[in-house]
Assembly symmetry: C2
Protein backbone atom coordinates (compact mmCIF):
# COMPACT_ATOMS: atom_id res chain seq x y z
CA UNK A 1 0.00 0.00 0.00
CA UNK A 2 1.30 3.44 -0.87
CA UNK A 3 2.01 5.63 2.13
CA UNK A 4 0.88 8.84 0.51
CA UNK A 5 2.86 12.03 0.51
CA UNK A 6 3.64 15.08 2.61
CA UNK A 7 4.46 18.36 0.91
CA UNK A 8 6.08 21.45 2.39
CA UNK A 9 4.68 24.89 1.68
CA UNK A 10 8.00 26.59 0.90
CA UNK A 11 6.64 30.04 1.75
CA UNK A 12 5.24 29.23 5.21
CA UNK A 13 7.17 26.12 6.25
CA UNK A 14 3.95 24.16 6.80
CA UNK A 15 3.68 20.46 5.88
CA UNK A 16 0.42 19.29 4.30
CA UNK A 17 -0.70 15.64 4.32
CA UNK A 18 -1.98 14.01 1.10
CA UNK A 19 -3.65 10.81 2.23
CA UNK A 20 -4.42 8.33 -0.57
CA UNK A 21 -6.81 6.39 1.66
CA UNK A 22 -9.00 9.48 2.00
CA UNK A 23 -8.80 10.32 -1.64
CA UNK A 24 -11.79 12.08 -3.11
CA UNK A 25 -12.19 13.88 -6.37
CA UNK A 26 -13.39 17.48 -6.06
CA UNK A 27 -16.75 16.58 -7.64
CA UNK A 28 -17.33 13.92 -4.98
CA UNK A 29 -16.44 16.33 -2.16
CA UNK A 30 -18.81 18.83 -3.62
CA UNK A 31 -21.70 16.35 -3.77
CA UNK A 32 -20.88 15.13 -0.25
CA UNK A 33 -21.24 18.64 1.16
CA UNK A 34 -24.54 19.16 -0.51
CA UNK A 35 -26.21 15.86 0.10
CA UNK A 36 -24.99 14.88 3.59
CA UNK A 37 -25.65 11.20 2.89
CA UNK A 38 -26.74 9.16 5.86
CA UNK A 39 -24.44 6.31 6.84
CA UNK A 40 -26.32 3.05 6.86
CA UNK A 41 -23.48 0.56 7.22
CA UNK A 42 -22.75 -1.46 10.37
CA UNK A 43 -20.69 0.35 13.04
CA UNK A 44 -17.00 -0.51 12.49
CA UNK A 45 -16.21 0.10 16.18
CA UNK A 46 -18.80 -2.20 17.76
CA UNK A 47 -17.33 -5.45 19.08
CA UNK A 48 -18.86 -7.75 16.52
CA UNK A 49 -15.73 -9.86 16.15
CA UNK A 50 -15.47 -8.50 12.67
CA UNK A 51 -12.82 -5.77 12.72
CA UNK A 52 -11.14 -5.33 9.40
CA UNK A 53 -7.91 -4.44 11.24
CA UNK A 54 -6.02 -6.26 14.03
CA UNK A 55 -6.56 -5.00 17.59
CA UNK A 56 -3.51 -3.05 18.81
CA UNK A 57 -4.46 -2.72 22.45
CA UNK A 58 -7.26 -3.68 24.87
CA UNK A 59 -7.78 -2.26 28.33
CA UNK A 60 -9.55 -5.20 29.97
CA UNK A 61 -12.55 -4.73 32.22
CA UNK A 62 -11.36 -5.12 35.84
CA UNK A 63 -14.22 -7.32 37.09
CA UNK A 64 -15.92 -9.01 34.17
CA UNK A 65 -14.77 -10.26 30.77
CA UNK A 66 -14.47 -7.86 27.85
CA UNK A 67 -12.74 -4.54 27.48
CA UNK A 68 -13.14 -0.94 28.64
CA UNK A 69 -11.29 0.64 25.74
CA UNK A 70 -9.79 -0.78 22.58
CA UNK A 71 -7.29 0.60 20.08
CA UNK A 72 -7.30 -0.36 16.39
CA UNK A 73 -5.54 1.10 13.36
CA UNK A 74 -7.60 3.71 11.53
CA UNK A 75 -9.07 2.04 8.47
CA UNK A 76 -8.43 5.23 6.48
CA UNK A 77 -5.10 6.32 7.92
CA UNK A 78 -3.73 9.74 7.05
CA UNK A 79 -0.18 8.42 7.70
CA UNK A 80 1.13 4.85 7.47
CA UNK A 81 4.05 2.94 9.00
CA UNK A 82 5.70 2.09 5.71
CA UNK A 83 8.35 3.80 3.65
CA UNK A 84 10.76 6.23 5.24
CA UNK A 85 11.07 9.83 6.38
CA UNK A 86 13.71 10.99 3.88
CA UNK A 87 13.01 14.44 2.55
CA UNK A 88 12.94 14.65 -1.26
CA UNK A 89 13.97 17.89 -2.95
CA UNK A 90 12.42 18.84 -6.27
CA UNK A 91 13.14 22.32 -7.56
CA UNK A 92 12.15 24.73 -4.79
CA UNK A 93 9.90 22.17 -3.07
CA UNK A 94 10.34 19.43 -0.46
CA UNK A 95 8.20 16.35 -0.03
CA UNK A 96 8.40 13.05 1.84
CA UNK A 97 6.50 9.81 2.12
CA UNK A 98 3.53 9.81 4.47
CA UNK A 99 5.27 7.86 7.22
CA UNK A 100 3.49 7.72 10.57
CA UNK A 101 0.76 5.93 12.49
CA UNK A 102 -2.92 6.60 12.88
CA UNK A 103 -4.87 4.83 15.61
CA UNK A 104 -8.49 4.90 16.75
CA UNK A 105 -9.21 4.74 20.48
CA UNK A 106 -12.64 3.12 20.90
CA UNK A 107 -13.67 4.71 24.16
CA UNK A 108 -16.36 2.26 25.16
CA UNK A 109 -17.91 -1.00 23.91
CA UNK A 110 -21.27 0.80 24.18
CA UNK A 111 -22.20 2.36 20.84
CA UNK A 112 -24.52 4.92 22.44
CA UNK A 113 -22.19 6.08 25.21
CA UNK A 114 -20.88 9.65 25.03
CA UNK A 115 -18.13 11.33 27.07
CA UNK A 116 -20.60 13.78 28.63
CA UNK A 117 -22.40 10.97 30.43
CA UNK A 118 -19.46 8.69 31.26
CA UNK A 119 -18.39 7.93 34.83
CA UNK A 120 -15.02 9.01 36.21
CA UNK A 121 -13.85 5.38 35.93
CA UNK A 122 -14.75 5.30 32.24
CA UNK A 123 -12.91 8.57 31.58
CA UNK A 124 -9.95 7.23 33.61
CA UNK A 125 -9.81 4.22 31.27
CA UNK A 126 -9.61 6.53 28.26
CA UNK A 127 -6.79 8.57 29.85
CA UNK A 128 -4.91 5.38 30.74
CA UNK A 129 -5.26 4.26 27.12
CA UNK A 130 -4.01 7.62 25.82
CA UNK A 131 -1.00 7.39 28.11
CA UNK A 132 -0.05 3.85 27.17
CA UNK A 133 -0.47 4.43 23.43
CA UNK A 134 1.36 7.76 23.65
CA UNK A 135 4.38 6.04 25.24
CA UNK A 136 4.26 3.20 22.71
CA UNK A 137 4.06 5.57 19.73
CA UNK A 138 6.84 7.85 21.00
CA UNK A 139 9.04 4.75 21.49
CA UNK A 140 9.39 4.62 17.68
CA UNK A 141 12.41 6.88 17.07
CA UNK A 142 10.84 8.07 13.81
CA UNK A 143 7.90 9.59 15.70
CA UNK A 144 8.46 13.31 16.28
CA UNK A 145 5.02 13.99 17.79
CA UNK A 146 1.97 11.99 18.88
CA UNK A 147 -1.21 14.03 18.70
CA UNK A 148 -4.19 12.81 20.74
CA UNK A 149 -7.49 14.38 19.74
CA UNK A 150 -11.23 13.86 19.63
CA UNK A 151 -13.82 15.05 17.11
CA UNK A 152 -17.24 15.07 18.75
CA UNK A 153 -20.15 15.06 16.29
CA UNK A 154 -20.21 15.58 12.56
CA UNK A 155 -19.84 19.37 12.74
CA UNK A 156 -16.49 18.78 14.45
CA UNK A 157 -15.32 16.31 11.80
CA UNK A 158 -16.46 12.97 13.28
CA UNK A 159 -17.48 10.35 10.73
CA UNK A 160 -18.75 7.70 13.19
CA UNK A 161 -21.12 8.13 16.15
CA UNK A 162 -19.55 5.34 18.26
CA UNK A 163 -17.48 7.12 20.96
CA UNK A 164 -13.87 7.28 19.82
CA UNK A 165 -10.84 9.48 19.68
CA UNK A 166 -7.70 9.31 17.57
CA UNK A 167 -3.92 9.42 17.86
CA UNK A 168 -1.70 10.40 14.94
CA UNK A 169 2.06 9.94 15.19
CA UNK A 170 3.99 12.14 12.78
CA UNK A 171 7.58 12.08 11.55
CA UNK A 172 7.81 15.87 11.61
CA UNK A 173 7.01 18.75 13.95
CA UNK A 174 4.50 21.09 12.34
CA UNK A 175 5.50 24.71 11.89
CA UNK A 176 2.43 25.69 13.92
CA UNK A 177 3.81 23.86 16.96
CA UNK A 178 7.33 25.23 16.42
CA UNK A 179 5.88 28.75 16.35
CA UNK A 180 4.22 28.12 19.70
CA UNK A 181 7.42 26.62 21.09
CA UNK A 182 9.37 29.67 19.91
CA UNK A 183 6.93 32.08 21.58
CA UNK A 184 7.16 30.16 24.85
CA UNK A 185 10.97 30.16 24.63
CA UNK A 186 11.00 33.92 24.08
CA UNK A 187 8.91 34.37 27.23
CA UNK A 188 11.21 32.05 29.13
CA UNK A 189 14.32 33.87 27.97
CA UNK A 190 12.82 37.13 29.19
CA UNK A 191 11.30 36.05 32.52
CA UNK A 192 13.13 32.78 33.19
CA UNK A 193 9.76 31.20 33.90
CA UNK A 194 7.35 28.93 32.02
CA UNK A 195 4.56 31.08 30.55
CA UNK A 196 2.02 28.36 31.28
CA UNK A 197 3.07 28.14 34.94
CA UNK A 198 2.70 31.91 35.16
CA UNK A 199 -0.72 31.71 33.52
CA UNK A 200 -1.83 29.02 35.95
CA UNK A 201 -0.65 31.01 38.97
CA UNK A 202 -2.40 34.12 37.70
CA UNK A 203 -5.64 32.31 36.89
CA UNK A 204 -5.75 30.56 40.28
CA UNK A 205 -5.10 33.86 42.03
CA UNK A 206 -7.67 35.82 40.04
CA UNK A 207 -10.19 33.00 40.00
CA UNK A 208 -12.76 34.54 37.68
CA UNK A 209 -11.96 32.35 34.66
CA UNK A 210 -11.51 29.17 36.71
CA UNK A 211 -14.25 26.55 36.36
CA UNK A 212 -12.88 24.10 38.89
CA UNK A 213 -9.65 22.70 40.27
CA UNK A 214 -8.33 19.77 42.27
CA UNK A 215 -4.94 18.83 43.75
CA UNK A 216 -3.26 18.36 40.39
CA UNK A 217 -5.24 20.33 37.77
CA UNK A 218 -6.96 23.61 37.04
CA UNK A 219 -9.72 23.86 34.41
CA UNK A 220 -10.25 27.41 33.14
CA UNK A 221 -11.44 29.46 30.21
CA UNK A 222 -8.24 31.10 28.88
CA UNK A 223 -7.97 34.90 29.09
CA UNK A 224 -7.79 35.11 25.28
CA UNK A 225 -10.09 32.20 24.42
CA UNK A 226 -10.43 31.74 20.65
CA UNK A 227 -13.98 30.42 20.73
CA UNK A 228 -16.96 30.51 23.14
CA UNK A 229 -16.53 28.16 26.12
CA UNK A 230 -12.99 27.11 25.20
CA UNK A 231 -11.52 25.25 28.18
CA UNK A 232 -7.92 24.42 29.11
CA UNK A 233 -7.23 21.70 31.65
CA UNK A 234 -3.67 22.17 32.86
CA UNK A 235 -1.53 20.22 35.34
CA UNK A 236 -0.31 22.30 38.28
CA UNK A 237 3.08 20.62 38.20
CA UNK A 238 5.37 21.86 35.44
CA UNK A 239 5.74 19.06 32.93
CA UNK A 240 6.29 19.54 29.20
CA UNK A 241 5.53 15.97 28.20
CA UNK A 242 2.14 14.28 28.63
CA UNK A 243 4.09 10.99 28.67
CA UNK A 244 5.43 11.92 32.13
CA UNK A 245 1.98 12.15 33.74
CA UNK A 246 2.01 10.41 37.16
CA UNK A 247 -0.49 7.85 38.48
CA UNK A 248 -1.88 10.45 40.88
CA UNK A 249 -2.19 12.99 38.07
CA UNK A 250 -4.02 10.50 35.86
CA UNK A 251 -6.59 9.95 38.63
CA UNK A 252 -7.03 13.70 39.17
CA UNK A 253 -7.16 14.37 35.43
CA UNK A 254 -9.98 11.83 35.07
CA UNK A 255 -12.03 13.56 37.78
CA UNK A 256 -11.73 17.05 36.34
CA UNK A 257 -11.95 15.98 32.67
CA UNK A 258 -15.14 13.99 33.33
CA UNK A 259 -16.62 16.96 35.16
CA UNK A 260 -15.82 19.43 32.36
CA UNK A 261 -17.13 17.15 29.60
CA UNK A 262 -20.28 16.64 31.64
CA UNK A 263 -20.69 20.41 32.16
CA UNK A 264 -20.37 21.04 28.43
CA UNK A 265 -22.87 18.28 27.72
CA UNK A 266 -25.42 19.55 30.22
CA UNK A 267 -25.05 23.27 29.73
CA UNK A 268 -24.61 23.40 25.97
CA UNK A 269 -26.91 20.49 25.17
CA UNK A 270 -24.25 18.05 23.94
CA UNK A 271 -22.38 20.46 21.62
CA UNK A 272 -19.96 19.54 18.84
CA UNK A 273 -16.38 20.03 20.00
CA UNK A 274 -12.78 19.05 19.43
CA UNK A 275 -10.20 18.44 22.10
CA UNK A 276 -6.49 17.93 21.74
CA UNK A 277 -3.70 17.15 24.17
CA UNK A 278 -1.02 19.75 23.53
CA UNK A 279 2.30 18.21 24.49
CA UNK A 280 5.99 18.70 23.71
CA UNK A 281 7.43 17.30 20.53
CA UNK A 282 10.39 14.87 20.72
CA UNK A 283 13.54 16.32 22.36
CA UNK A 284 11.46 19.01 24.10
CA UNK A 285 9.98 16.85 26.87
CA UNK A 286 12.33 18.11 29.58
CA UNK A 287 12.43 21.75 28.59
CA UNK A 288 11.50 24.39 31.18
CA UNK A 289 9.40 26.62 28.88
CA UNK A 290 6.75 24.09 27.75
CA UNK A 291 3.80 22.64 29.64
CA UNK A 292 1.29 20.05 28.46
CA UNK A 293 -2.46 20.73 28.68
CA UNK A 294 -5.75 19.56 27.26
CA UNK A 295 -7.52 22.14 25.07
CA UNK A 296 -11.27 21.79 24.44
CA UNK A 297 -12.73 23.81 21.56
CA UNK A 298 -16.56 23.79 21.28
CA UNK A 299 -17.72 24.31 17.69
CA UNK A 300 -20.44 26.89 18.24
CA UNK A 301 -19.21 29.39 15.60
CA UNK A 302 -18.05 29.07 11.98
CA UNK A 303 -14.58 30.42 11.17
CA UNK A 304 -14.78 32.62 8.05
CA UNK A 305 -12.40 34.32 5.61
CA UNK A 306 -11.01 36.78 8.14
CA UNK A 307 -10.05 34.01 10.58
CA UNK A 308 -8.62 31.80 7.81
CA UNK A 309 -6.79 34.59 6.01
CA UNK A 310 -5.50 36.73 8.86
CA UNK A 311 -5.37 34.07 11.58
CA UNK A 312 -7.34 36.31 13.95
CA UNK A 313 -10.15 34.75 15.98
CA UNK A 314 -13.36 36.66 16.60
CA UNK A 315 -15.02 35.47 19.79
CA UNK A 316 -18.62 36.62 20.40
CA UNK A 317 -18.38 35.48 24.03
CA UNK A 318 -16.58 36.89 27.10
CA UNK A 319 -14.25 34.38 28.83
CA UNK A 320 -15.22 35.44 32.37
CA UNK A 321 -18.91 34.97 31.58
CA UNK A 322 -18.29 31.63 29.89
CA UNK A 323 -16.42 30.49 32.98
CA UNK A 324 -19.27 31.60 35.27
CA UNK A 325 -21.77 29.88 32.98
CA UNK A 326 -19.85 26.60 33.05
CA UNK A 327 -19.02 26.88 36.76
CA UNK A 328 -22.51 27.51 38.15
CA UNK A 329 -24.41 24.40 39.10
CA UNK B 1 -20.70 52.95 21.74
CA UNK B 2 -18.08 50.72 23.33
CA UNK B 3 -15.32 49.61 20.98
CA UNK B 4 -14.93 46.17 22.47
CA UNK B 5 -11.64 44.64 23.41
CA UNK B 6 -8.66 42.77 22.03
CA UNK B 7 -6.76 40.34 24.22
CA UNK B 8 -3.33 38.83 23.67
CA UNK B 9 -2.73 35.15 24.24
CA UNK B 10 0.52 35.51 26.23
CA UNK B 11 1.65 32.00 25.35
CA UNK B 12 1.26 32.22 21.57
CA UNK B 13 1.36 35.98 20.89
CA UNK B 14 -2.02 35.87 19.12
CA UNK B 15 -4.58 38.68 19.50
CA UNK B 16 -8.25 37.67 19.80
CA UNK B 17 -11.13 40.07 19.05
CA UNK B 18 -14.04 40.35 21.48
CA UNK B 19 -16.75 42.18 19.56
CA UNK B 20 -19.60 43.51 21.69
CA UNK B 21 -21.79 44.02 18.61
CA UNK B 22 -21.64 40.28 17.90
CA UNK B 23 -22.18 39.32 21.47
CA UNK B 24 -23.99 36.05 22.04
CA UNK B 25 -24.37 34.04 25.18
CA UNK B 26 -23.19 30.43 24.87
CA UNK B 27 -26.77 29.14 25.16
CA UNK B 28 -27.82 31.28 22.20
CA UNK B 29 -24.88 30.06 20.08
CA UNK B 30 -25.78 26.54 20.93
CA UNK B 31 -29.40 26.97 19.87
CA UNK B 32 -28.32 28.79 16.72
CA UNK B 33 -26.18 25.84 15.61
CA UNK B 34 -28.97 23.40 16.15
CA UNK B 35 -31.88 25.26 14.68
CA UNK B 36 -30.35 27.15 11.74
CA UNK B 37 -33.13 29.74 11.84
CA UNK B 38 -34.11 31.16 8.50
CA UNK B 39 -33.62 34.89 8.05
CA UNK B 40 -36.87 36.52 7.10
CA UNK B 41 -35.98 40.20 7.39
CA UNK B 42 -35.50 42.53 4.41
CA UNK B 43 -32.06 42.46 2.77
CA UNK B 44 -29.87 45.15 4.41
CA UNK B 45 -27.73 45.48 1.27
CA UNK B 46 -30.47 46.09 -1.29
CA UNK B 47 -30.73 49.72 -2.40
CA UNK B 48 -34.02 50.49 -0.72
CA UNK B 49 -32.88 53.95 0.42
CA UNK B 50 -33.11 52.59 3.90
CA UNK B 51 -29.54 51.84 5.01
CA UNK B 52 -29.09 52.06 8.73
CA UNK B 53 -25.52 53.30 8.16
CA UNK B 54 -24.19 56.15 5.96
CA UNK B 55 -22.73 55.18 2.58
CA UNK B 56 -18.92 55.41 2.61
CA UNK B 57 -18.27 54.98 -1.09
CA UNK B 58 -20.13 54.47 -4.37
CA UNK B 59 -18.62 53.36 -7.65
CA UNK B 60 -21.07 54.96 -10.07
CA UNK B 61 -22.40 53.14 -13.10
CA UNK B 62 -20.53 54.50 -16.17
CA UNK B 63 -23.51 54.85 -18.47
CA UNK B 64 -26.72 55.01 -16.45
CA UNK B 65 -27.63 56.33 -13.03
CA UNK B 66 -27.02 54.23 -9.95
CA UNK B 67 -23.96 52.38 -8.69
CA UNK B 68 -21.89 49.33 -9.55
CA UNK B 69 -20.54 48.76 -6.07
CA UNK B 70 -21.21 50.45 -2.75
CA UNK B 71 -19.35 50.43 0.56
CA UNK B 72 -21.09 50.84 3.92
CA UNK B 73 -19.92 50.28 7.50
CA UNK B 74 -20.65 46.80 8.81
CA UNK B 75 -23.70 47.05 11.04
CA UNK B 76 -22.09 44.56 13.45
CA UNK B 77 -18.46 45.67 13.29
CA UNK B 78 -15.80 43.51 14.89
CA UNK B 79 -13.61 46.63 15.30
CA UNK B 80 -14.68 50.29 15.59
CA UNK B 81 -13.01 53.66 14.90
CA UNK B 82 -13.30 54.93 18.46
CA UNK B 83 -10.98 54.77 21.44
CA UNK B 84 -7.27 54.27 20.96
CA UNK B 85 -4.66 51.59 20.36
CA UNK B 86 -2.82 51.84 23.69
CA UNK B 87 -1.86 48.46 25.08
CA UNK B 88 -3.05 47.87 28.64
CA UNK B 89 -1.01 45.61 30.91
CA UNK B 90 -2.76 43.61 33.62
CA UNK B 91 -0.69 41.01 35.43
CA UNK B 92 0.79 38.75 32.75
CA UNK B 93 -1.78 39.80 30.14
CA UNK B 94 -2.13 42.55 27.53
CA UNK B 95 -5.33 43.97 26.12
CA UNK B 96 -6.40 47.00 24.08
CA UNK B 97 -9.55 48.63 22.86
CA UNK B 98 -11.08 47.23 19.70
CA UNK B 99 -9.93 50.11 17.48
CA UNK B 100 -10.28 49.57 13.74
CA UNK B 101 -12.72 49.72 10.86
CA UNK B 102 -15.04 47.16 9.35
CA UNK B 103 -16.62 47.82 5.98
CA UNK B 104 -18.97 45.87 3.73
CA UNK B 105 -18.39 45.99 -0.03
CA UNK B 106 -21.77 45.47 -1.70
CA UNK B 107 -20.62 43.91 -4.94
CA UNK B 108 -23.73 44.55 -7.00
CA UNK B 109 -27.13 46.24 -6.67
CA UNK B 110 -28.61 42.91 -7.84
CA UNK B 111 -29.56 40.77 -4.84
CA UNK B 112 -29.37 37.53 -6.84
CA UNK B 113 -26.05 38.15 -8.55
CA UNK B 114 -23.12 35.93 -7.60
CA UNK B 115 -19.41 36.27 -8.44
CA UNK B 116 -19.44 33.03 -10.46
CA UNK B 117 -21.78 34.54 -13.02
CA UNK B 118 -20.53 38.14 -13.08
CA UNK B 119 -18.98 39.73 -16.16
CA UNK B 120 -15.35 40.85 -16.26
CA UNK B 121 -16.57 44.46 -15.99
CA UNK B 122 -18.49 43.66 -12.81
CA UNK B 123 -15.48 41.93 -11.27
CA UNK B 124 -13.30 44.87 -12.35
CA UNK B 125 -15.62 47.19 -10.42
CA UNK B 126 -15.16 45.08 -7.28
CA UNK B 127 -11.37 45.14 -7.65
CA UNK B 128 -11.41 48.90 -8.19
CA UNK B 129 -13.48 49.25 -5.02
CA UNK B 130 -11.08 47.05 -3.05
CA UNK B 131 -8.16 49.13 -4.26
CA UNK B 132 -9.71 52.50 -3.42
CA UNK B 133 -10.91 51.40 0.00
CA UNK B 134 -7.60 49.70 0.75
CA UNK B 135 -5.73 52.95 0.07
CA UNK B 136 -8.21 54.96 2.11
CA UNK B 137 -8.04 52.60 5.09
CA UNK B 138 -4.23 52.39 5.03
CA UNK B 139 -4.11 56.22 4.98
CA UNK B 140 -5.15 56.12 8.66
CA UNK B 141 -1.78 55.87 10.47
CA UNK B 142 -3.38 53.69 13.13
CA UNK B 143 -4.18 50.98 10.54
CA UNK B 144 -1.49 48.30 10.56
CA UNK B 145 -3.25 45.99 8.09
CA UNK B 146 -6.33 46.05 5.88
CA UNK B 147 -7.69 42.58 5.21
CA UNK B 148 -9.99 42.14 2.20
CA UNK B 149 -11.97 38.91 2.22
CA UNK B 150 -15.14 37.25 1.06
CA UNK B 151 -17.28 34.57 2.69
CA UNK B 152 -19.36 32.83 0.04
CA UNK B 153 -22.38 30.96 1.40
CA UNK B 154 -23.39 30.12 4.94
CA UNK B 155 -20.93 27.20 5.29
CA UNK B 156 -18.13 29.73 4.70
CA UNK B 157 -19.46 32.16 7.32
CA UNK B 158 -21.71 34.42 5.21
CA UNK B 159 -24.78 35.74 7.01
CA UNK B 160 -26.42 37.50 4.02
CA UNK B 161 -27.02 36.13 0.51
CA UNK B 162 -26.70 39.52 -1.25
CA UNK B 163 -23.25 39.48 -2.93
CA UNK B 164 -20.77 41.23 -0.66
CA UNK B 165 -17.27 41.09 0.68
CA UNK B 166 -15.64 42.76 3.67
CA UNK B 167 -12.60 44.79 4.64
CA UNK B 168 -11.32 44.92 8.21
CA UNK B 169 -8.61 47.41 9.15
CA UNK B 170 -6.69 46.41 12.29
CA UNK B 171 -4.39 48.34 14.61
CA UNK B 172 -2.09 45.34 15.01
CA UNK B 173 -0.34 42.76 12.85
CA UNK B 174 -1.50 39.27 13.77
CA UNK B 175 1.16 36.80 14.90
CA UNK B 176 -0.01 34.49 12.09
CA UNK B 177 1.02 37.09 9.51
CA UNK B 178 4.29 37.84 11.30
CA UNK B 179 5.13 34.14 11.28
CA UNK B 180 4.60 34.07 7.51
CA UNK B 181 6.67 37.24 7.08
CA UNK B 182 9.49 35.69 9.13
CA UNK B 183 9.50 32.51 7.02
CA UNK B 184 9.67 34.57 3.83
CA UNK B 185 12.51 36.66 5.28
CA UNK B 186 14.44 33.52 6.19
CA UNK B 187 14.11 32.31 2.59
CA UNK B 188 15.22 35.70 1.30
CA UNK B 189 18.23 35.80 3.61
CA UNK B 190 19.29 32.40 2.31
CA UNK B 191 18.61 32.78 -1.42
CA UNK B 192 18.41 36.55 -1.78
CA UNK B 193 15.19 36.07 -3.72
CA UNK B 194 11.47 36.41 -2.98
CA UNK B 195 10.05 32.94 -2.27
CA UNK B 196 6.83 33.86 -4.07
CA UNK B 197 8.71 35.00 -7.20
CA UNK B 198 10.58 31.70 -7.13
CA UNK B 199 7.34 29.80 -6.73
CA UNK B 200 5.79 31.65 -9.65
CA UNK B 201 8.78 30.97 -11.92
CA UNK B 202 8.75 27.29 -10.96
CA UNK B 203 5.00 26.91 -11.44
CA UNK B 204 5.04 28.65 -14.85
CA UNK B 205 7.95 26.47 -15.96
CA UNK B 206 6.43 23.21 -14.73
CA UNK B 207 2.92 24.12 -15.80
CA UNK B 208 1.05 21.20 -14.29
CA UNK B 209 -0.54 23.14 -11.44
CA UNK B 210 -1.29 26.24 -13.52
CA UNK B 211 -4.95 26.83 -14.36
CA UNK B 212 -4.45 29.89 -16.51
CA UNK B 213 -2.31 32.96 -16.90
CA UNK B 214 -2.27 36.31 -18.67
CA UNK B 215 0.27 39.13 -19.06
CA UNK B 216 0.21 40.11 -15.39
CA UNK B 217 -1.06 37.12 -13.38
CA UNK B 218 -0.81 33.37 -12.92
CA UNK B 219 -3.62 31.37 -11.31
CA UNK B 220 -2.47 28.02 -9.94
CA UNK B 221 -3.19 25.36 -7.35
CA UNK B 222 -0.27 25.65 -4.89
CA UNK B 223 2.12 22.69 -4.61
CA UNK B 224 1.14 22.22 -0.95
CA UNK B 225 -2.53 23.26 -1.20
CA UNK B 226 -4.26 23.06 2.19
CA UNK B 227 -7.69 22.19 0.82
CA UNK B 228 -9.14 20.72 -2.40
CA UNK B 229 -9.14 23.18 -5.30
CA UNK B 230 -7.31 25.93 -3.38
CA UNK B 231 -6.26 28.59 -5.92
CA UNK B 232 -3.66 31.35 -5.69
CA UNK B 233 -3.81 34.25 -8.13
CA UNK B 234 -0.43 35.96 -8.05
CA UNK B 235 0.92 39.02 -9.88
CA UNK B 236 3.96 38.27 -12.03
CA UNK B 237 5.59 41.52 -11.03
CA UNK B 238 7.12 41.49 -7.55
CA UNK B 239 5.05 43.75 -5.36
CA UNK B 240 4.52 43.26 -1.63
CA UNK B 241 1.63 45.67 -1.29
CA UNK B 242 -1.74 45.26 -3.00
CA UNK B 243 -2.08 49.06 -2.75
CA UNK B 244 0.59 49.39 -5.45
CA UNK B 245 -1.40 47.46 -8.08
CA UNK B 246 -1.22 49.26 -11.46
CA UNK B 247 -4.12 50.10 -13.77
CA UNK B 248 -2.97 47.44 -16.22
CA UNK B 249 -2.71 44.88 -13.42
CA UNK B 250 -6.21 45.70 -12.20
CA UNK B 251 -7.58 45.00 -15.68
CA UNK B 252 -5.66 41.72 -15.95
CA UNK B 253 -6.60 40.72 -12.41
CA UNK B 254 -10.29 41.21 -13.24
CA UNK B 255 -10.01 38.93 -16.28
CA UNK B 256 -8.32 36.06 -14.47
CA UNK B 257 -10.28 36.44 -11.22
CA UNK B 258 -13.60 36.37 -13.07
CA UNK B 259 -12.50 33.31 -14.99
CA UNK B 260 -11.42 31.42 -11.84
CA UNK B 261 -14.59 32.29 -9.91
CA UNK B 262 -16.61 31.17 -12.89
CA UNK B 263 -14.66 27.89 -13.14
CA UNK B 264 -15.28 27.16 -9.46
CA UNK B 265 -18.97 27.98 -9.89
CA UNK B 266 -19.40 25.76 -12.95
CA UNK B 267 -17.20 22.83 -11.99
CA UNK B 268 -18.01 22.60 -8.28
CA UNK B 269 -21.65 23.63 -8.57
CA UNK B 270 -21.36 27.00 -6.80
CA UNK B 271 -19.37 25.82 -3.79
CA UNK B 272 -18.94 27.64 -0.48
CA UNK B 273 -15.53 29.34 -0.34
CA UNK B 274 -13.52 32.09 1.25
CA UNK B 275 -11.01 34.30 -0.47
CA UNK B 276 -8.57 36.75 1.03
CA UNK B 277 -6.08 39.19 -0.41
CA UNK B 278 -2.80 38.46 1.34
CA UNK B 279 -0.79 41.68 1.35
CA UNK B 280 2.04 43.23 3.33
CA UNK B 281 1.35 44.88 6.66
CA UNK B 282 2.31 48.54 7.20
CA UNK B 283 6.06 49.26 6.82
CA UNK B 284 6.52 46.06 4.79
CA UNK B 285 5.10 47.29 1.50
CA UNK B 286 8.46 47.85 -0.17
CA UNK B 287 10.25 44.80 1.16
CA UNK B 288 11.84 42.37 -1.29
CA UNK B 289 10.71 39.13 0.39
CA UNK B 290 6.93 39.64 0.34
CA UNK B 291 4.48 39.39 -2.54
CA UNK B 292 0.74 39.99 -2.52
CA UNK B 293 -1.68 37.40 -3.88
CA UNK B 294 -5.30 36.38 -3.75
CA UNK B 295 -5.94 33.05 -1.99
CA UNK B 296 -9.20 31.20 -2.66
CA UNK B 297 -10.15 28.41 -0.24
CA UNK B 298 -13.17 26.28 -1.23
CA UNK B 299 -14.93 24.82 1.83
CA UNK B 300 -15.40 21.24 0.68
CA UNK B 301 -13.94 19.59 3.80
CA UNK B 302 -14.39 20.13 7.57
CA UNK B 303 -11.27 20.86 9.63
CA UNK B 304 -11.22 18.61 12.70
CA UNK B 305 -9.26 18.28 15.95
CA UNK B 306 -6.00 17.29 14.28
CA UNK B 307 -6.02 20.34 12.02
CA UNK B 308 -7.06 22.69 14.85
CA UNK B 309 -4.70 21.22 17.43
CA UNK B 310 -1.59 20.47 15.40
CA UNK B 311 -2.08 23.00 12.61
CA UNK B 312 -1.56 20.30 9.97
CA UNK B 313 -3.91 20.25 6.98
CA UNK B 314 -5.09 16.94 5.54
CA UNK B 315 -5.99 17.33 1.88
CA UNK B 316 -7.89 14.45 0.25
CA UNK B 317 -7.17 15.90 -3.20
CA UNK B 318 -4.02 16.04 -5.35
CA UNK B 319 -3.06 19.59 -6.47
CA UNK B 320 -2.07 18.54 -10.01
CA UNK B 321 -5.41 16.79 -10.49
CA UNK B 322 -7.35 19.72 -9.06
CA UNK B 323 -5.53 22.02 -11.48
CA UNK B 324 -6.35 19.75 -14.44
CA UNK B 325 -9.97 19.55 -13.29
CA UNK B 326 -10.29 23.34 -13.05
CA UNK B 327 -8.30 23.93 -16.26
CA UNK B 328 -10.17 21.62 -18.61
CA UNK B 329 -13.04 23.21 -20.46
Amino acid sequence: MSSGQLRLNTATGEWVIYAPTRRKRPQELCQQTQQNPSISQACPFCDNGNYSEPVIFDLPHPSKSGWLTRVIPNKYPVLMPCGNTERISQGIYLSMQGYGKHEVVIESPDHDQTPGTMTVEEVAAIIETYHQRYLALMADPKTMMAIIFRNHKKEAGASQPHPHSQIIATSFVPRHRRWQEEEALRYFDRWHRCVYCDMLAYESEEGKRVIEENDSFVAFVPYAAQVPCEVWIMPKQHKADFGNISELEKADFAVIFQSILCRLYRKLDNPAYNYVINTASRYKGEEPQLHWYCQILPRLTTPAGFELGAGISINPSIPEEDAAFLRDD
